[in-house]
Symmetry: C2
Subunit: 141 residues, 2 copies
DNA sequence: AGTATTATTGAAATCGCTTTTCAATAAGGG
DNA sequence: CCCTTATTGAAAAGCGATTTCAATAATACT
């Protein structure tokens, strides 16, 4: 199932006249193996386990490429740390964030989206993207 | 109308055993005169016009006090800059952010809030606060 | 295959904003 | 009018994101 993502990345690399490198391959593989919402630093630590020679900078830059290619999305939950989440095959979603255990849950609600869209329109606004984060306590906490 | 805010701040200062200073008075006055969503730096520049001797640090620390006293809220729109907004007399609201002119609009929709709350509950979540930001193009742009 | 070109890499430096440190100053209680 | 202690402001430190730069390696072209 990860094959499709590699193909997308390959095409992106070629379209942009960039180059294939083992580092990029490793980083993409680690990212795909990962649960959602990793920071660059968390990812760097995971990548090091597979190849200790890969530097933080390369991880960081590769994630920017993945963002540009549409494979990952960047999101920030107010703690000053940018996190990356899987985007391929994931529709738009909101986030429930447990302030106790730190767990992120993705949720989708088409009714909510529709009402939001109406509200926005009634303000003469044309919405391009939005971000809803709900902080609270999850079922287990 | 701003009188009430000064009173709240006075009470906060006294309850905490802190001290009244001319700097704090000036900073609060400037903040209240301000449109919503100012960064510490923007506020510092405004404060300097009234009293060039006041330092950035004092502005920054006073804003933290205003936050603690409930007079202002802190919010961050993903550009890495913390902004302060009026909170006294302002009910919860969401933000429409124009990506062309940078204007922030506050909106409230009770229907939206209700649906959100239902959605959250259906996930066994207890919500404490939430943040909805909608990025797009405003009527004038 | 060999070589020239140029993207990529990784360490270190830098950036931008937030937060803390510290010595000097000033608020306010006695 | 002191004395205690919070406050101030400049400068430093923190901290994550981003850039720089010399060395390296991936591709295109012989």
């Amino acid at each position: 199932m990860a094959r499709k993502e590699f193909q997308i990345f390959d095409e992106f690399i070629e379209k942009k006249g960039l180059r294939h490198t083992p580092q990029r391959g490793t980083i993409l593989a680690v990212f795909l193996d990962t649960e959602k919402h990793v920071s660059a630093d968390e990812l760097y630590k995971l990548v090091r386990k597979k190849d200790p020679a890969i530097g933080y900078t390369t991880v960081y830059r590769t994630m920017k490429l993945l963002s540009a290619s549409g494979l990952c999305g960047e999101t920030e939950f107010g703690d000053g740390v940018l996190r990356f989440e899987h985007k391929y095959g994931h529709e738009h979603h909101d986030h429930l964030i447990c302030i106790k255990c730190g767990k992120f849950t993705e949720v989708t609600d088409s009714g909510l989206e529709r009402i939001q869209e109406n509200m926005v329109k009634s303000h003469g606004f044309k919405s391009l993207k939005h971000k809803l984060e709900i902080f609270g306590i999850c079922r287990n906490c």
